[in-house]
């Protein structure tokens, strides 16, 4: 017997009556619920998150008290029950999706940008701006295990960006000011072993790793192109890819930094936001050369592939942040230009990609679109929503 758990606070009363009835019949069935179709929406104005259900496209609960959530992100425990939310104010909050409550919350730094969870699920790492570095925490208790200060050879501190997990219980991240990529082997988290790659390019602003965990790539702000590290062959060092795409032309101003969080790959191509150009760059993942530049509506922020890789969805920095475009990977044509509302901050697909959830910040709602018909199929009120993170991330390298 499957009992659908409706944890929405208002329905709790009804649920408990049902439970009593069930008990009268002598069958005490605990309300079972899995997390595979759950996720969280960050409400950045309120410092809260909503727990959502993608099967019924509805909100199940709202949890408050998470602090400054501008630029918040989240990763999941390997059982996909707990979300770890990284807040801008250095807060690290562990949320229990099933009981809809904060399990533990700590302030771990003055100013933070994101985090990652190790391959074995035992270590949560945070990447911090102030003071710049990475901290490792016990995923169960959030107790601090060790710290990796981001200090370069000249003794200068850097902000840490683009922190991801990689196979072999490693974390990989970039140093914004120093222009370095560090690989930290945390098999003994008390004593992380560091490999530092120097002079990888100016101002890496974010980083991501391919789905197989092999290639780490950092986007560069201070110059054109991306820095690529083959983690299967680390000693070959970092090489520059797509370095010449902006040659000779003055870059356009960037009103919001692009993100590489969920790196878009389809077939033998990777799709990345250009910086200071209104283009999506298509990179051949065999040769790592850029093979096409697709003109788009503005400065891309997120460039994400539908899980089947058939379409690429793109959102934009201000003043084009009311627009979302869809690129067909076979033709490289833009097949849809949507204007879902004011300030589209994030796009998240359901695990198999039949829906995409868009946060429409300035209209205070999250809209759900059918990815075949491009029609809106649901809308959920949310207070200045930003990131949306579904539990499939629990089982993906680099997310």
């Amino acid at each position: 017997m499957r009992v659908d758990k409706r944890t929405s606070i208002t329905k709790l009363a009804a649920a408990s009556i049902l439970l009593c009835v069930a008990m009268l019949y002598g069958c005490v069935t605990p309300q079972l619920r899995a997390t595979g179709d759950l996720g969280i929406i960050i409400e950045r104005a309120d410092g809260s998150v909503q727990i959502v259900d993608t099967t019924h496209q509805r909100s199940l609960a709202k949890i408050s008290g998470l602090g400054d959530l501008s630029h918040a992100s989240a990763v999941y425990s390997r059982d996909a029950r707990y979300a770890y939310v990284f807040g801008r104010d250095g807060g690290l909050t562990k949320i229990d999706l099933l009981n809809a409550r904060i399990e533990k919350r700590i302030i771990q730094a003055g100013n933070s940008i994101g985090g990652a969870i190790s391959q074995d699920g035992k270590i949560v790492a945070t990447s911090n701006y102030e003071p710049g570095g990475v901290k490792l925490f016990d995923a169960a208790t959030l107790d601090l295990i060790s710290e990796i200060p981001a200090v370069d050879r000249a003794g200068k501190h850097s902000k840490v960006v683009g922190l991801v997990d990689a196979p072999g219980n490693r974390f990989v991240f970039s140093l914004f000011e120093a222009g370095e990529i560090w690989v930290a082997d945390v098999r003994d988290p008390r004593q992380p072993v560091l490999h530092k790659h120097l002079n990888i390019g100016r101002q890496p602003y974010d980083g991501t790793v391919t789905r197989d965990g092999r290639h780490y790539v950092a986007g560069l702000f201070g110059e054109d192109g991306l820095a690529l590290l083959d983690l299967w062959n680390e000693s070959a060092g970092v090489k520059r890819v797509a370095a010449a795409y902006g040659k000779g032309s003055q870059p356009l101003p960037v009103y919001k930094m692009p993100h590489l969080d969920n790196w878009a790959m389809s077939q033998t191509s990777a799709y990345v936001p250009a910086v200071g150009r209104h283009e999506v760059i298509v990179i051949d993942t065999h040769t790592w050369l850029d093979k096409a530049h697709i003109p788009v509506a503005g400065q891309p922020v997120f460039v994400v592939a539908r899980p089947d890789g058939r379409h690429i969805w793109v959102n934009y920095a201000p003043p084009h942040n009311d627009t979302v475009q869809v690129i067909d990977v076979l033709t490289h044509q833009i097949i849809q230009t949507l204007h879902p509302g004011k300030a589209i901050l994030h796009m998240e697909f359901t695990p198999r990609g039949e829906q995409v959830w868009l946060s429409v910040r300035d209209d205070d709602r999250v809209d759900v679109y059918d990815t075949e018909t491009f029609q809106r199929i649901a809308s959920i009120p949310a207070a200045k929503p930003s990131g949306i993170f579904f539990t499939y991330r629990a089982h993906r390298i680099g997310l």
Binding site: R44, A45, D68, L69, S70, H71, R88, D89, G110, N111, I113, Y129, E130, K159, F176, Q203, Y205, F221, G222, P253, V254, Y255, K256, M257, P318, P319, A343, R361, D362, K384
Partner: protein, 118 residues
């Protein structure tokens, strides 16, 4: 100085009265309508906030709190807002902000009023 206290007064009146289209005047003497002020505050919080932090305590861009900005001339800060800082991610906002609007935003920052005005 007089202009500053006038703005402070007007700001607090706006907090009381709400965004009912009441106008405020930046030091340059140009009127900024209440609706526009609300839009500017949203811009400051959300769009500037994406780099400087929602509470202006810093992110990829430096903190823009009164303490962090202390001693820096308002005119220099206004110029940075309008023209950006080449070679850094700080973009020029002149396409979206007039001089008096940039000035008004700097005043809000210098007084730390953004967090008081949630």
């Amino acid at each position: 100085m007089r202009a500053n206290s006038r703005i402070r007064q007007r700001l607090s009146r706006i907090i009381l009265i709400g965004m009912t289209g009441l106008a405020a005047t930046a030091s340059t003497g140009v009127e900024i309508s209440g609706t526009r002020q609300a839009a500017l505050l949203n811009l400051l919080k959300q769009d500037c906030g994406s780099c400087h932090g929602l509470t202006m305590k810093g992110g990829l861009g430096p903190a823009l709190t009164p303490e962090a900005l202390r001693g820096k001339p308002a005119s220099m800060l206004r110029e940075v807002v309008l023209r950006g800082r080449p070679g850094t991610p700080m973009p020029p906002w002149a396409p979206f902000l007039s001089e008096s609007e940039a000035e008004w935003l700097i005043e809000v920052l210098l007084k730390g009023e953004i967090n008081a005005r949630r």
